[in-house]
Symmetry: C2
């Protein structure tokens, strides 16, 4: 894609009315646009990253036998009255109608699963969707971390007994850790214990990514690395008994719940007179984009991890070298996804935009580099600049 | 995918409370589930078809320089007050908030484009999304043809002058025809003239697919095949002057509008003191699924066109032949997407389900076929059954 054609515009100044770093950077870099508090449009660059995260999540969910569906955003009041969650502050209700906007989907998936799972051999089943959720959120001040409208993956599992849920729950935990790893967050993300919130009376588990922008406080056990949410902090680690903890600010990037029979009871979902045992597993796709930006940035802009960067290469032409177009075509031909800054702008402006957008590799074609039959290659987040011969460039990049 | 694992269930009887053929068949075949009037969940089989249609649409929109974004479902009242479309029956409003649910996106994309397109060289731009829309629909009785919640592709184009819009409009028309062709609807779909409805005072154009389930009446010019919607029917064809027309019932599967400056005026979107000229182009993804089912069916079920079928092959095992699993693995290895009916059910039930679901090719492995070192191959919608040697099967299928 040529930058001269791309639907976007970078800003030199922080946008007004945004307190959070992720929203400031994503708006300045032309990834998202704010329509209202907690409501964002995804522009081409932002949507590309969202789609890459979605594909990672989809792959990892399919590996643990998740089957993808798509449930509605609107649902009838009666589904929510069965569980007592109609009159909750999260629920946006439609004026003059008995419909609400779904902020979670237990009330939809449970009666749906009951229709299709009628005998022991139909179990277990694991159903997920990637879908837009709505939540009446008074504190929508954290950019993509806490939205009134947000993109979420929610998986629901159905089991005949607790043991089967327990086994599957471990598989989901591993799949989640794999998602964070592929998104570059492995070294920043901890598995830990939290309260069940609106979903279950027992404990739940969550995945917390460490960053100063975090609204949560966690205590990481020095010995076994389990993270205890402030809400459930104890003197000793419940897993290993350790009593030394490190306090960190963090963002919850995923949560998993053993729902037990709470929802199957509400919808009378039984096999052989025994309630079905359920688990639910949430992972915010748009929140993950916000979290990644909070973790990976410097004073110049975003620094995207490789697997979810909007493009592989940011190619800069300095002063209309005809060879730039050839390099662009050659890189595309070799399978690289290239954003080609062909604009008639000052070099400094192009370098600033490259840093702001945060694509992993920057390549510059200028009169100076061409004198050496070369291009200049630099990784985002590193200072080293290398001259690479034109004939060696694709080989060089394959080893980057 | 093995049918024994698939999250679905077929029904022998029509579901209650559904008048439309598309909803009856899609529910009976386990593609969708009805949550409320005009509100459906897409189950794994249905979502696969939706995703295939989305990918076709995406490819054709990208070919005409469309850039994909994702705009919100929620939007603030003030955007709609600028165009006088807040107080319309289509709008679902949120109780106690100044938000509505978007039933179209001119009010969002126009101020967004104004932020990014600031000089002549930024034009033209063509921006689209594939997104869930909400529309307060009193007559939600046509299954996926007319929903309160539905999936739509909407493209918006921005031009400096009318001529540029006119040229691009023709490209969109060709891209739409290509989408219908790839979805198998070429022989049933006509381009024609309609009123501008809520979008423009002038005429608009639409694509109409002929089926008895259609809520529209069109008059097809015998000479040039232009379709005139009943609303705009004239004595002579405005294109060729012909005066012989054939009356048909049809479904509108797409519409394209020359908006002119209606929305750019409302949002004061100008370059060099001249209003930007806009076009908008809608194509209902979920409606297209419904339309395809209305067109392609028989008394036994759905007959999916090849490119959008949920799977390539429906493989039936009769009475637990161990070779079935081998055929399944071999076909998958060759790149076919196979739904393998491995259930412990009577052969008749499996044949009925194969016909109901409508996958293009059915393969049967039974004791009888194996005696001949063969499998039985039948195309959905044809009566001919062929015995094909196991060793020749992939070659045979490649020519199907």
């Amino acid at each position: 894609m040529k930058v001269s054609k791309l639907f976007f515009k970078t800003l030199r100044q922080d946008p007004s009315g945004e307190a959070s770093l992720n929203a400031k950077l994503l708006i300045r870099a032309g990834f998202v646009d704010k329509l209202g508090a907690g409501i964002y449009s995804y522009l081409p660059l932002g949507l590309k990253v969202i789609q890459k995260i979605q594909n990672i999540v989809r792959e990892e969910m399919n590996k643990i036998d998740g089957q993808e569906v798509l449930m509605p955003g609107l649902s009838p009041k009666e589904n929510w009255e069965k569980t007592g969650r109609w009159e909750v502050p999260e629920m946006y209700k439609i004026l003059g109608e008995d419909y609400g906007l779904n902020w979670s989907h237990e009330e939809i998936i449970t009666p749906l699963a009951k229709k299709f799972l009628n005998s022991e051999k139909d179990f277990p089943k694991c159903i997920y969707q990637i879908q837009t959720k709505y939540r009446n959120e008074p504190r929508a001040k954290s950019g993509l971390l806490r939205g009134r409208e947000f993109i979420m993956k929610d998986l629901y599992s159905f089991h005949l007994n607790q043991e089967d849920l327990d086994n599957y729950y471990e598989k989901v935990k591993e799949a989640y850790l794999k998602v964070y790893e592929r998104c570059g967050l492995k070294d920043y993300t901890y598995f830990g214990l939290a309260t069940g919130g609106a979903f279950t009376k027992g404990y739940s588990h969550e995945f917390q990514t460490i960053t100063d922008a975090g609204e949560d406080i966690i205590y990481i056990c020095e010995k076994c690395k389990l993270a205890l949410n402030k809400e459930v902090k104890q003197d000793k680690c419940p897993d290993c008994g350790g009593d030394i903890f490190e306090e960190k600010k963090s963002i919850e990037v995923g949560n998993i719940f053993k729902l037990g029979s709470k929802y199957s009871e509400a919808f009378d979902f039984k096999i052989n007179d025994k309630n079905i045992i359920m688990g639910c597993y949430g992972l915010g796709i748009s929140r993950l984009l916000g979290s990644i930006v909070e973790v990976f940035n410097d004073e110049k802009g975003i620094i995207f991890p490789k697997e979810i960067a909007p493009y592989d290469i940011y190619l800069i032409d300095i002063k209309n070298q005809k060879e730039s177009e050839q390099v662009y075509e050659a890189l595309k031909y070799k399978g690289f996804d290239v954003l080609f800054d062909d604009r008639d702008k000052a070099p400094g402006e192009k370098f600033s935009d490259a840093d702001l957008i945060g694509i992993p590799i920057r390549i510059v074609v200028s009169e100076k580099t061409l004198k050496e039959d070369s291009v200049e290659v630099k990784k985002r987040g590193e200072d080293k600049v290398e001259l690479v011969k034109l004939k060696d460039i694709t080989k060089f990049l394959e080893n980057c």
